[in-house]
């Protein structure tokens, strides 16, 4: 039996292998197994349809947020078009299943690949543009894609949208939140696993080098344009895959939800969660989705509550206010996000009673 690893009170790493290890201790591995068990067995058996609906939404957005985190958090290329890429994936999946009759398991990755190609197309300006100029170029991409989704009626159905019906895997109809729960969370786990390992490779380190100083990275022999394009491609693949899941889950898609606000929400997720951290992207998604769900529950409650019903319509814009406020407060008071808070809490336990 090999030696068990426990938490140490300092940094005693002696090799790069130890530095790169995903699990510093055996506790992490155990907790992950327990977490997987809860996620895939306990929750789907006990959760209500409503809980599962919220979790499914979180799962879908988390996939896209993890992808965006690769682009913004690791490569340092700020993209404001992620919401549109999400939409491209949704439409690609819808067109593939309804027009071409492809099965779900083929359409999902194909939609991701298609979106990756589109994302690389809109990543081409990153060859010459940097910082704010690139940000605005991707914002332009967002508006151009939105326009295409609305205007190209022959394929996208215009403002009417597309109905997606036949969601089934090997003859099993995915007709409940519970069935989708397994599809979404298995995808999330696999894609998270891929991402966590991707950023530990030569490729991931090259991206971080580009983020920190792209000229220096180029000097060290990293072909920066190729790597930037690949980062755009992979992050768009995640967005497209999530979008395809969204299309199958929602059954009907219209261009409406894939607006600039969605792109902003994705960025808010990874900023609140913590840039450059895969778990942070998931934390951030949980925070944003729960926040908007709680806010809409409050509005709904007030709408049905007699005396407040008349003012409830005027209260609705306050949702946006609270949303903005939470982003602002997070950025001012904890710019490193929830992942940093989680790290501090953990190290407090580890270093107890001498924590500071």
């Amino acid at each position: 039996m090999r030696k068990r690893h426990y938490h140490l009170c300092g940094n005693y790493k002696e090799s790069y292998e130890e530095e790169l290890a995903i699990f510093e201790t055996d506790f992490g591995r155990t907790w992950l197994l327990i977490g997987m068990f809860v996620l895939l067995v306990v929750i789907p058996l006990t959760g209500s349809e409503y809980t599962l609906y919220i979790l499914n939404t979180i799962g879908i957005y988390a996939i896209a947020a993890i992808g965006l985190n690769l682009l913004i958090g690791f490569t340092g290329q700020i993209s404001m078009g992620h919401g549109a890429f999400f939409g491209v994936g949704a439409y690609a999946a819808a067109v593939m299943t309804t027009r071409m009759g492809l099965p779900l398991l083929v359409a999902l990755p194909m939609a991701g690949v298609f979106t990756a190609v589109v994302g690389m197309l809109f990543g081409i300006p990153s060859l010459r543009l940097k910082h704010l100029y690139l940000t605005i170029a991707t914002l332009a991409g967002q508006f151009i894609i939105e326009y295409i989704l609305v205007q190209w009626e022959g394929v996208t159905g215009g403002a009417e949208g597309i109905m997606v019906s036949n969601a089934s895997i090997f003859g099993i109809e995915l007709d409940s939140d519970r069935a989708f729960y397994f599809l979404i969370f298995i995808s999330l786990i696999v894609l998270t696993w891929v991402m966590v390992n991707l950023i530990r490779t030569r490729f991931g380190r090259a991206l971080v080098a580009i983020r920190d100083n792209d000229r220096a990275a180029e000097g060290m022999g990293i072909p920066i344009f190729k790597y930037k394009l690949l980062a755009f491609g992979i992050s768009s693949f995640y967005a497209g895959f999530a979008g395809a899941l969204f299309a199958f889950y929602m059954m009907t898609i219209t261009p409406e939800p894939f607006n600039m606000w969605l792109s902003i929400e994705f960025i808010a997720m990874i900023i609140i969660g913590g840039l450059g951290s895969v778990s942070g992207a998931i934390f951030g998604t949980i925070f944003i989705v729960s926040l908007s769900e709680v806010l809409s529950m409050i509005t709904e409650f007030l709408m049905n509550y007699g005396p407040a019903a008349s003012v409830s319509i005027t209260i609705a814009p306050l949702r946006e206010f609270i949303f903005g406020l939470s982003i602002v407060l997070f950025i001012i008071f904890e710019p490193k996000g929830l992942a940093e808070i989680w790290r501090i809490v953990r190290s407090n336990f580890r270093l107890w009673p001498f924590s500071y």
């Binding site: 913004i72 700020i78 081409i124 300006p125 010459r128 543009l129 940097k130 910082h131 704010l132 100029y133 940000t135 605005i136 170029a137 914002l139 332009a140 991409g141 508006f143 151009i144 326009y147 609305v150 205007q151 100083n213 000229r215 220096a216 000097g219 600039m260 902003i264 960025i267 808010a268 900023i271 840039l275 005027t314 209260i315 814009p317 306050l318 949702r319 946006e320 206010f321 609270i322 949303f323 903005g324 406020l325 939470s326 982003i327 602002v328 950025i331 001012i332 710019p335």
Partner: protein, 292 residues
Amino acid sequence: MSFFLHLLVNGLSLGFLYALSALGFVMIYKSSSVLNFAHGELMAAGAFLFLVLTTWAELPIALAFILTLAGCFLLGFVIERLFLRPLIGEDLIQVIMLTVGMAAMFKGLLLFIFGGDIHQYPSFLPEALNLHLGIIQIPSVYVATFIIGILFLVMFGFFFKYSSQGIYMRSVADNQPAAMSLGVHVRRVFALSWAIAAMVAAMSGIVLGIINGINVHELSSIGLKVFPVVILGGLDSIGGAILAGVIIGLLETFTGGYISTSLREIIPYVVLVVILMVKPYGLFGLKEIERV
């Protein structure tokens, strides 16, 4: 021919409006390198303040105008103090998202107070400003806008050229550490640039309100239109912003008039991407020389 002239006049005045709203934006970027996503909401805030002062408080127009500008000057000051000051030295993305959050806050607040309807100012512009040039007619609003705009541009030109604060602002824009070591109060310059930018935004908000009616959604979407304008002109060039404003304005009206109205909204962005591929720092933007 008359259709062409009509479009030309409309495009020029629209472009001038864009240039005017881009002005405050460039000012913030020049001194503090902040990309302000809340610009449209600042314009809306100014427009609604003017609305309250004219219709609810029933002040005379000139007094209301001056009070609005003063109020927004203060607002810009407070915004810088509360939100931007803690972020000096943080990453670009944090600052961008902060202004996005601010935009959501202002929009929510304004919608909460005034609702999503279109409000109107009482008409106060003299009929004499209604120009007839041969076959084309220029509405008084555009003429007034043009006069006010030129007035402000000249005033800012003198401010930056001759006043000590203006020179400080230019020095900070040029080289922040050098300015700091020469004793320029950099934080005060940031605050002042936000205050002035909010003031200019209020002015363009009022003008847009006179033309289209005052509506929160409308004004905040025009705030987004500022992006193609400033990027096309080069983020840190005021002259470039004016020229790019006119280019985008003309492009929009001519596309809307001759090709299709739905393409009108998107054409600035398409042109933007194409031009950026050729000139990555816009038409007149300062090329950044990077050293490793």
